[in-house]
């Protein structure tokens, strides 16, 4: 998902060269391969780094490098973007080709999928042509065995003229032999003899068009790869099981229902699993309030400082952590599992027709999925869309699927106002997950409408061509997925939330405790906004909370509650019934809750997302558009809802 770090990934595309520090390494090794061959898994296994693995093209959009030591030799490994060839001109291919031609690499490790060897050989031949010092890592041998694939590795070595090492990187098998071979090739101890590619004589004909020449060149590699593959593959892959799964998950009848069911299941597991730990965390964190106050007293901190740190900063932090951490720690691993299995490209396949009608790209469905975790990450992920017009559409509409900061509030409101808190736990949770699924469907539907609208107005154009690979289903690396998604995604998103929630808590405390003319600034602002809020079916305090929640969506609900109680501090949510009672006393009805959910779904993206949009588009105008578009939709929908439900 490219989720490692939004900040790290952005703008790093062109800087493959600049971050390399080669002085401490004996050999610089470039890691190359088609997309979806487990290249990142090989990189992680060799370097011990936690880079994400993903199942769609263009995952490694920025170059990453790491070190490995083996047999007294130090390697610097450079993970180049996955490419199908080196002759086309996509940014990924330019990075890969440029690095090989720069002469900085002593050796290239070509990662190939043993279950789909022929296509991988195409790239291998192109690489060895400009970089003869190479090793072929025949990865995914376990999957190949399961599918009955038999490859004659000796014959393959002969045909390619470079060492061929069978590996199962996910289990660490074959990696020592891989580094041995890389060291031998890089140092020149093991000479390599890649075969010359036979280009047809017609290539030197000046009469030929450039396109035709390009065709002939590509065909030469493809035919050569076919010849080698025919000679070394003793038994081809039996993919009957994959076809069977696809016949259900992407079929006319079951494709869409299966997708919704899976989504609802993920939400159900998240909601039911997060309930207890959330309550527990909240109790523990709020119990810390008094010890901290005692410690501050002991330090002779003035009363206003105590209040500011505890009632302002600590309580906001405690709320954000207890509300966000448990659902994230469940949702992210589950979602990563779906990704690891290879299901997400099927989502893009199922939804492509809808996106095509909206004059957008099916891969936008993948960026939406990334947006579930964090919209900033989704925006960065839009790099997988090739057409600049379609990429911009995906960026501008990404915040219309709720990120993790908005899920908890939406779930609470759904439960209180539409499902009822008095029912038994299981049906409540089931209905909540179905409600949340409906909210997501609304978000995706509006994304399609907005995409079509953009295509008809400021981003005019027809849908571009589209080729999507549906990679083989793979057994997920459950243990690694859990560790990695908790370490990388959960802690990263949580860290970001905390770093904005702390200063935001301080600001809210100041506003709530700063009195001008007998009323706090917070309340005065809310009163000023009240007419607009009322017109949208909300109220002034809710609107103010959305404005103050610009740094992070998860603090919106806490601000609303604080405003209603006018205590000047955040209150602890002692369960949903209490929350429901407080909201009802302050004039909330089911209509208010519905407007809140809709506005939460469609309003300005949070500050981090805005910053990312600005970095990705390099344009303040498009960033402004990304703010205005969802806000306009949200205000219109809320206004209409208010008129209807009044």
């Amino acid at each position: 998902m490219g989720l490692t770090s939004c900040a790290g990934a952005a703008g790093a595309r062109d800087s493959t060269a600049s971050f390399l520090r080669t002085e401490n390494a004996d050999h610089v090794v470039a890691l190359m391969g088609n997309p979806n061959v487990g290249k990142s898994t090989v990189f992680n296994a060799l370097t011990g780094m936690a880079q994400h693995t993903g199942n769609w093209p263009g995952k490694t959009v920025a170059g990453a490098s790491g070190t490995a030591e083996h047999g007294g030799t130090r390697f610097l490994l450079v993970d180049l973007p996955g490419t199908y060839s080196l002759v086309a001109r996509s940014p990924e291919e330019e990075v890969a080709r440029g690095f090989l031609l720069s002469g900085r690499a002593d050796c290239a490790i070509l990662v190939a999928d043993a279950t789909c060897l022929e296509r991988n050989l195409n790239l291998a031949l192109q690489v060895t042509e400009i970089m003869p010092r190479a090793v072929l890592c025949l990865n995914l041998m376990d999957e190949a065995q399961k599918k009955g694939v038999q490859i004659d590795c000796d014959a393959l070595e002969q045909a390619l003229g470079i060492p061929v090492i069978p590996c199962t990187a996910a289990r660490g098998e074959g990696l020592d032999a891989l580094l041995d071979a890389a060291a031998a090739v890089a140092s020149g101890r093991r000479p390599t003899t890649p075969p010359p590619i036979r280009f047809p004589a017609a290539l030197s004909d000046d009469q030929l068009s450039e396109e035709r020449k390009q065709d002939l060149r590509t065909a030469s590699y493809v035919l050569h790869a076919e010849e080698i593959a025919n000679g070394v593959i003793r038994s081809p892959a039996n993919a009957a099981r994959d076809r069977k799964i696809d016949r259900i998950l992407t079929s006319r009848r079951y494709g869409i229902p299966a997708m919704l069911l899976l989504l609802a299941l993920v939400f159900f597991l998240t909601i039911s699993g997060a309930n207890l730990p959330s309550a527990w965390l909240s109790r523990v964190l709020f119990a810390c309030t008094e010890p901290i106050r005692a410690a501050l007293c002991w330090l002779h901190a003035p009363v206003w400082l105590q209040s500011m740190l505890i009632d302002g900063v600590w309580r906001v932090l405690a709320t954000v952590v207890s509300v966000m951490l448990p659902p994230m720690a469940i949702f992210f691993p589950l979602f990563t599992l779906l990704e690891d299995v290879g299901y997400l490209p099927r989502v893009a396949f199922n939804l492509d027709h809808a996106f095509c009608k909206a004059h957008a790209c099916g891969k936008q469905a993948l960026t939406l999925c990334m947006g579930f975790g964090c919209n900033a990450v989704g925006v960065t992920g839009c790099r997988i869309i090739d057409s600049p017009r379609e990429r911009l559409i995906a960026i501008l509409t990404n915040s219309m699927v709720p990120c993790n900061g908005r899920f908890p509030t939406i779930i609470s409101l759904l439960t209180i106002f539409f499902i009822g808190v008095s029912r038994a736990a299981l049906p409540t949770m089931l209905l909540s997950s179905l409600g949340l699924t409906a909210v997501i469907v609304l978000g995706v539907a509006m994304t399609l409408v907005a995409s079509r609208l953009l295509s008809a107005t400021v981003l005019k154009g027809l849908p571009s061509s589209f080729a999507l690979e549906l990679p083989p289903y793979r057994r997920p690396q459950v243990g690694k997925v859990i560790v990695r998604s908790i370490l990388d995604r959960t802690l990263f998103v949580l860290g970001r939330a905390i770093s904005v929630a702390a200063p935001a808590g301080l600001l809210i405390w100041l506003l709530a405790n700063w009195y001008i003319g007998g009323s706090s600034v917070l309340l005065s602002c809310a009163q000023a906004l009240d007419p607009i809020g009322r017109a949208l079916g909300l109220d002034g305090m809710i609107l103010l909370a959305f404005l103050l929640g610009f740094p992070a969506n998860e603090i919106v609900m806490p601000i609303v509650l604080m405003g209603y109680l006018s205590t000047g501090t955040l209150v602890e949510l002692t369960g949903l019934p209490a929350l429901g009672a407080l909201l009802t006393v302050n004039g909330w009805s089911a209509a208010t809750a519905l407007c809140f959910i809709v506005f939460s779904l469609f309003h300005w993206p949070c500050s981090t997302t805005c910053l990312t949009i600005w970095r990705e588009t390099g344009s303040l105008r498009w960033t402004a558009a990304a703010v205005i578009l969802p806000t306009g939709i949200g205000m219109t929908l809320c206004f209409l809802l208010h008129l209807l439900l009044g």
Binding site: Y84, S85, V87, A88, R89, S90, T115, C116, L117, E118, R119, N122, E211, Q214, D215, T218, A219, V222, L223, A225, E226, P236, A237, D242, R243, D246, R247, T250, S251, R252, G255, I256, F349, N350, D352, H353, A354, C356, G362, D386, P463, S464, S465, F466, A467, L468, E469, L470, P471, P472
Partner: protein, 73 residues
């Protein structure tokens, strides 16, 4: 190629496409003479999944319709 029914295999005769999609498909090994098996379409009938040199690639009908194929079996 858009007319090849699910389960049938046809041979590519010519690509009437230009620009990046032409390059991308050729990189995937889709050249004259390549056998292509239709695996079936998505929930709305488009795009369609094809087996091309051991990999499953989904193409929109608007693109696959511009790839000429010879007899299918």
């Amino acid at each position: 190629m858009a007319e090849v029914p699910a389960g049938m295999t046809a041979t590519v005769a010519q690509l009437d496409l230009s620009g990046s999609i032409r390059i991308r498909l050729r990189d995937l090994g889709l050249i004259e003479g390549t056998p292509v098996t239709c695996l079936g379409c998505g929930p709305s009938g488009d795009p369609v999944a094809y087996l091309i040199r051991g990999a499953v690639i989904a193409l929109r009908r608007s693109d696959s319709g511009r790839i000429e194929v010879r007899e299918w079996v």
